[in-house]
Symmetry: C2
Subunit: 166 residues, 2 copies
């Protein structure tokens, strides 16, 4: 998100979500929403915690988790698990609400892309398997341009040729 993008309206959106459900709008919740909406990155809870400390907001980790749960429920924020052993959070405002991820296994950088093909795949699943899709996750792991150009090569530790020994 650029600095020009005002995040205040997004926080108000979250406040509305809370009020609609009769939940208190606390300073902590607003601060956490502010941090999440201020970044276009895929934030870990640790990232959020650090950012809050930088803003002189002393908020317990438990509150961060509890507030993220609310943000995810409100659909304003999406939860990701890139297999790092912890979750990451990304807001869904002012960007393509449906996008997929390219994840560099070397440097951890995350790029986003859009895929029209997925809609067709989902339709096919409904036709062929009677499966009603509600959400999906497409992640492509590999080397980003800079890591690849830096000559990084990934080790292959698998069997040389599985088939010919059956």
């Amino acid at each position: 998100m650029t600095d020009a993008t005002p995040i205040r309206p997004f926080i108000r959106l979250f406040s509305r979500y809370l009020r609609d459900r009769g939940l208190p709008v606390t300073h902590q919740r607003e601060s956490i929403a502010e941090v999440v909406f201020s970044s276009d990155a895929h934030l870990s809870v640790e990232d959020i915690e650090r950012d809050l400390r930088g803003r002189n907001a002393r908020i317990g980790k438990a509150t961060i988790y509890r507030t993220l749960e609310l943000l995810v429920q409100s659909r304003l924020v999406e939860e990701h698990d890139f297999g790092e052993g912890f979750k990451r959070y990304e807001h869904r405002l002012s960007q393509d609400p449906e996008h997929e991820h390219l994840i560099c296994v070397e440097c951890g950088k995350v790029l986003e892309f859009h895929s029209a093909e997925l809609r067709h795949i989902e339709e096919r699943m409904q036709e062929e398997h009677g499966f009603v899709p509600t959400r999906h996750r497409l992640e492509i792991y590999g080397l980003c341009r800079s890591c690849h150009e830096a000559g990084v090569v990934l080790p292959d530790r698998g069997l040389t040729c599985p088939i010919d020994t059956l």
Copy 2:
């Protein structure tokens, strides 16, 4: 895998992988491989542990984890994380080695499907972003036919209309 499929060759394949690296081929490793290759399901460590007990093999959980690591390294077995808080394991023999997953969020059933489109998407990423793909993960979550026909509906707890209040 049908009962007709002999799993012995698969276990031998794993033994070869171990021998090639100078690693001991122990009874425990063979038993664990036997369990994993005997099932076409997506097994949790708990599933494997239970199955081993059923075969009167008393094997510690740590050994199961350590052996699964070897099986994954050998590329004979694939590790999955469907966001349940634990991992699942699936062997890659006698089936489409590259396939994606349909996961029913109601009953947990997992269906597999193949998508030719993914190759094209990966090629596009290389052309457009210079990203070199090594592996991917495509999971579609939703309701399987039987759950959908049973009338299961998923709750929508998000904001009614995010945009119009900005």
